[in-house]
């Protein structure tokens, strides 16, 4: 219990620090008023501009000192109101924008993780169960290649092969297509994110499996006549997944970063493109909201990893 309270305090402190840092840097380094009103923001002499400026200052609490603005923003944020955009119209509200964009990115990252695991597990088991063959050396090189290829380069390569040359995937994402079509459209971008992840998982799984296969209980399983396949999948796999699970959280973070690039390249209107657009337009409320959501997601994921640990190893539970 003490462990969980400690962890929770730590997480909350982290989230506060992240939000303060983002909030402060955007307000100090950027110029919110300019972002809202454009060039007239510096002109307090013209009465009609002054009126606009004061109205904007009121609406966005810009007349209040920074700490107060932060507290107000935080209060709103935790109650689900992410504020108004800095765009001229302020429409749609940030919350609406997030609701529209975020699910696509979540789907993308989710599909990428599933794909990565679906590729890595059979690949890892295969390469651990016959460790020295020529095919295995080739697989090592391939894994190394996938780890080294940057996702924007991989995006270009996969797009060139599967979309342009083979025509298996549409060239652009179509947000108005049916649910299933939209998911198939996400396949190629998801694969782009998944392949490097799969290679990392495969390496880890292979190393751990080789160690596990030398454990005494594997000998027991063989001696009692369990067939080879079952030994690999039922006995050896589960205790060999710890490193994969550990890196799972970290990798999800990497995939979120990758999603910015991949969404932009494939033209998917997700949270990644939203954040890139918002940063370019200095639409800070959007950036702030998305950064906070991503950071929270990251933290939540690490909790999930902790839970996964205890599922994998009953010894952790007691």
């Amino acid at each position: 219990m003490k462990y969980w309270t400690q962890r929770l305090t730590m997480v909350l402190a982290l989230m506060l620090a992240v939000s303060m840092l983002t909030f402060a840097s955007m307000n100090v380094l950027g110029d919110p008023l300019f972002n809202i009103l454009g060039p007239i923001s510096g002109d307090r002499k013209t009465p009609e501009n002054l009126v606009k400026i004061e109205a904007a200052e009121k609406q966005y609490y810009l007349d209040k000192p920074l700490p107060e603005r932060y507290v107000r923003w935080l209060g709103d944020f935790v109650t689900g109101d992410m504020g108004v955009r800095f765009a001229a119209t302020g429409q749609p509200p940030v919350t609406e924008l997030v609701k529209e964009r975020l699910p696509r990115s979540l789907w993308l990252v989710f599909m990428a993780q599933v794909l990565a695991l679906a590729i890595a597990v059979p690949w890892g088991v295969w390469s651990a169960s016959r460790s020295n063959s020529l095919a295995n050396k080739a697989s090592t090189v391939a894994a190394f290649g996938f780890v080294s290829v940057p996702n924007f380069a991989l995006a270009v390569i996969l797009y060139y092969i599967f979309a342009l040359k083979l025509g298996l995937f549409p060239l652009r994402y179509d947000a108005s297509a049916s649910f299933l079509t939209r998911k198939t459209q996400l396949l190629l971008p998801a694969l782009t994110l998944a392949l490097p992840g799969a290679a990392v998982y495969q390496r880890l799984l292979r190393t751990d499996l080789i160690t596990t296969l030398q454990e005494d209980f594997i000998l027991t399983a063989r001696a009692k006549g369990v067939p080879r396949r079952q030994i690999l999948f039922r006995h050896a796999l589960r205790p060999s997944l710890f490193s994969v699970v550990t890196i799972f959280g970290v990798n999800a973070g990497g995939m979120i970063g990758g999603a910015l690039v991949v969404e932009t390249f494939f033209g998917i209107p997700g949270a990644g493109t939203a954040i890139v657009e918002a940063i370019l337009r200095e639409d800070f409320p959007v950036v702030l909201a998305l950064v906070m959501i991503i950071a929270t997601g990251f933290v939540v994921l690490n909790f999930v990893v902790d839970i996964l640990y205890s599922i994998l190893d009953p010894r952790v539970r007691s």
């Binding site: 460790s131 290829v149 797009y159």
Partner: protein
């Protein structure tokens, strides 16, 4: 005697991997060779017999991009500029950013991490928390945040990516310091009353530098990739060309379809360089037995 059975039950051929004598291997030297070639070519580019990367080599009656030929090894882009020399020149910015960013990260992260691991106590807690905060941002989000708020000059980009490497490098330095601070030779130095700075510089630094060196190579690879991603989002250096910008330039659907070499020449250069850095770093890490890697 629990381990006695291990040797007996090793899976087929597994032992041969473990008994192999520790060498860096020819792959390592191949990788180093490639890195040296790329760095050399980039550094000496203006003195090499290369085509001007900005010149338009238009051929009358034919529309660029031109495909690879003896005249243009990697072909030309839409503006008939030579891709071979553009790729080599592109390496200049990518590598400068790569090496200077990781140098920055090593300097700041390395010294913070070492001090945290050595002094422990509240300083360690504060620094460790700072690292955690930095790690809570997805790296790329942090990078575009900083670059969009500041200018997009070479220094800013390098420093931004340098800041990103502080936390991972710092955590490694801290871990390594914690390990070595417990070792006999440091204890001995302490008992004879050596000053903290002396212990840090004379006893710990040389030992922490080795794992950090291996990490630095991996770090440079990561930095080059991050720079490429920034460029891809249109957020890298405004002036001069980088591999990322070159790739972006070749990825319009029409160019990609009709002249894939425009994108693939810099992709290959980037890929091989990143792979070489990764491989060399990996081998070094194995060679010096560096366990923790949180990059």
């Amino acid at each position: 005697m629990r381990s006695e059975g291990r040797t007996v039950d090793a899976p087929p051929e597994a032992p041969s991997e473990f008994v192999e004598e520790k060498t860096l291997g020819w792959g390592f030297w191949l990788a180093v060779g490639w890195i040296v070639t790329v760095v050399g070519a980039a550094a000496l580019a203006p003195y090499l017999p290369l085509k001007d990367p900005q010149e338009n080599f238009l051929i009358q009656g034919e529309r660029p991009p031109y495909s690879p030929s003896l005249e243009h090894f990697f072909g030309t882009d839409q503006d008939a500029r030579d891709m071979f020399s553009r790729t080599i020149y592109g390496a200049r910015v990518s590598l400068v950013v790569g090496f200077s960013a990781i140098a920055f990260g090593l300097l700041v992260g390395g010294s913070l991490g070492m001090m945290a691991g050595f002094l422990k106590g509240w300083f360690d807690r504060v620094v460790s928390f700072l690292f955690l905060v930095l790690l809570s941002f997805p790296a790329l989000v942090l990078a575009i945040l900083i670059t969009s708020l500041l200018s997009r000059g070479l220094q800013t980009i390098s420093m931004t990516i340098g800041i990103l490497s502080i936390a991972p490098v710092g955590r490694l330095a801290r871990a390594a310091t914690l390990v070595y601070a417990e070792r006999d030779f440091v204890m001995a130095a302490r008992t004879i009353g050596a000053k903290n700075t002396r212990i840090l510089l004379r006893e710990l630094l040389p030992n922490v530098v080795i794992p950090m060196g291996a990490i630095a190579l991996l770090g440079v690879a990561i930095v080059i990739v991050v720079e490429g991603a920034l460029a891809f989002l249109g957020l890298s250096v405004e002036k001069g060309s980088t591999w990322g910008k070159l790739i972006l330039n070749g990825t319009g659907t029409r160019v990609l379809e009709s002249a894939p070499w425009v994108a693939f020449a810099p992709i290959c250069a980037l890929f091989l360089t990143v792979m070489a850095l990764n491989y060399a770093g990996d081998r070094l890490r194995d060679y010096f037995d560096v366990k923790e890697l949180s990059l």
